[in-house]
């Protein structure tokens, strides 16, 4: 009986949270009008979530590309198709690894920071203070952060893929002796702009919305204590990673038939 009651409570809490998150998202969207005349707030947040995430994205992109180069070469050389290395590296990065790994890193680096920041603002009653001054914290604090995440994610994913392709070039052409011309031409002949690159950008755009949404919602919804903020940060990373992986599967199934 108790177990059933627990199950029921868990489900009810989950549904309630989803409902609150959706209403919250709607409020943030309508609150975005506030930013038209205060665009500097968004620029500040692009710095916080984009520029400060740049380094980890570039380094991981480079290494992921290099590892793809090594592993891909070993497998392709077995079938005498080592010249297709460029194609393998570019397609895996542009279609999957670029958007997904960027979103996971973004959740860990920027998402957790957003949640902690907003949660602490709530715990130290800064949000309540804003309301006292007749400033809507959703317009002023939440909306610029969400928008900045949506702007930054596709750019970060593009940087990740681009530097990964260069990393694959370093290893494949520089170390393993694949022909540089073959590396690029195989890539250009077989990577389609709309089918592969554009769909990858759409993916990262969706991930940008989802990860930033989860991050700001968890922060705004956090229990205003130090323990509550720590839990909210934890949930941000777990939920957004799971959401990214799940959505990626669905979008891949829809996009690449």
């Amino acid at each position: 009986m108790n177990a059933l009651q627990n199950l029921g409570r868990t489900v009810l809490t989950a549904v309630e949270r989803i409902g609150r998150a959706s209403l919250f998202f709607y409020e943030v969207l309508t609150g975005s009008w506030y930013l038209v005349r205060r665009f500097y707030l968004v620029v500040q947040q692009v710095y916080a979530v984009g520029v400060l995430t740049l380094l980890i994205i570039l380094v991981s992109g480079l290494f992921v590309g290099m590892v793809l180069g090594l592993q891909g070469y070993n497998t392709l050389a077995r079938f005498g198709a080592a010249e297709s290395l460029g194609l393998l590296v570019a397609l895996s990065l542009v279609r999957e690894l670029g958007p997904v790994v960027t979103a996971l890193l973004f959740a860990g680096r920027a998402g957790s920071a957003l949640t902690a920041e907003i949660g602490l603002m709530k715990a130290t009653e800064q949000l309540a203070g804003m309301e006292m001054m007749a400033v809507n914290p959703i317009d002023r604090v939440i909306a610029p952060r969400l928008l900045a995440g949506v702007i930054a994610m596709p750019l970060l994913a593009a940087l990740f893929s681009a530097i990964g392709v260069l990393g694959g070039h370093i290893v494949g052409v520089g170390l393993l002796g694949v022909d540089s011309g073959a590396y690029w031409s195989q890539m250009q002949n077989n990577v389609d702009f709309y089918d592969d690159i554009f769909n990858g950008v759409i993916k990262s755009f969706v991930f940008g919305i989802v990860v930033s949404w989860i991050a700001v919602f968890e922060g705004y919804d956090a229990v205003p204590t130090s323990e509550g903020v720590s839990r909210a940060t934890n949930r941000t990373v777990v939920f957004s990673s799971l959401a990214v992986l799940g959505l990626d599967f669905i979008m891949t199934a829809l996009m690449f038939k």
């Binding site: 500097y40 620029v43 500040q44 692009v46 710095y47 984009g50 520029v51 740049l54 005498g80 198709a81 570019a90 542009v94 930054a152 596709p154 750019l155 970060l156 593009a158 940087l159 893929s161 681009a162 530097i163 392709v165 690029w184 890539m187 250009q188 002949n189 990577v191 389609d192 702009f193 592969d196 690159i197 950008v201």
Partner: protein, 160 residues
């Protein structure tokens, strides 16, 4: 907190880098620079065997890509492959008696359709058929011919 100008500078650099990466992906990695067939027209060619030709394989004349394979079908009356070639609209003066053959880039590379211009002063229009075709080189057949000592002889049913 950073100075406003410095922060704006960093964000500007970030945006520029991101857009640069997108442009690089589009032009260097993707096929946007080799702008695809512009308002092309379609020609059909029937082959006995197309080997591993695929949709989107290049169509070339004199080594220059002038179009792409847009569709591959099967003719169940003559048991032939029907390959639809989408040729760039800029090249409207391809003679009617042009021959098409399926060639291979490199020893094991991808296959493409090579067009050899004929001498006719009538030009191919949309929907026309190329009659003189040469099938793909199938390695197993070639080895078989070589073993039985016929490799040097011209194969019947082929363009002279």
């Amino acid at each position: 907190m950073l100075q406003r100008t410095q922060l704006e500078l960093w964000v500007g650099i970030f945006m520029a880098l991101g857009i640069l990466a997108l442009v690089m992906l589009a032009f260097r990695v993707g096929n946007l620079s080799t702008a695809d067939v512009v308002d092309g027209y379609k020609i059909e060619a029937h082959f006995d065997n197309i080997g591993s030709l695929k949709v989107k394989s290049p169509v070339t004349m004199a080594g220059v890509r002038i179009g792409r394979v847009s569709q591959i079908g099967f003719d169940d009356k003559n048991y032939q492959a029907v390959v639809t070639l989408n040729v760039d609209g800029r090249y409207k003066t391809i003679p009617k008696d042009t021959g098409a053959s399926i060639l291979t880039a490199g020893l094991l590379g991808e296959q493409y359709v090579g067009l050899d211009p004929g001498g006719s002063d009538q030009y191919l229009k949309a929907g026309d058929k190329i009659t003189m075709t040469q099938s793909a080189l199938v390695l197993e057949k070639l080895i078989g011919q070589f073993i039985f000592g016929k490799a040097g002889e011209p194969e019947p049913n082929k363009k002279p």
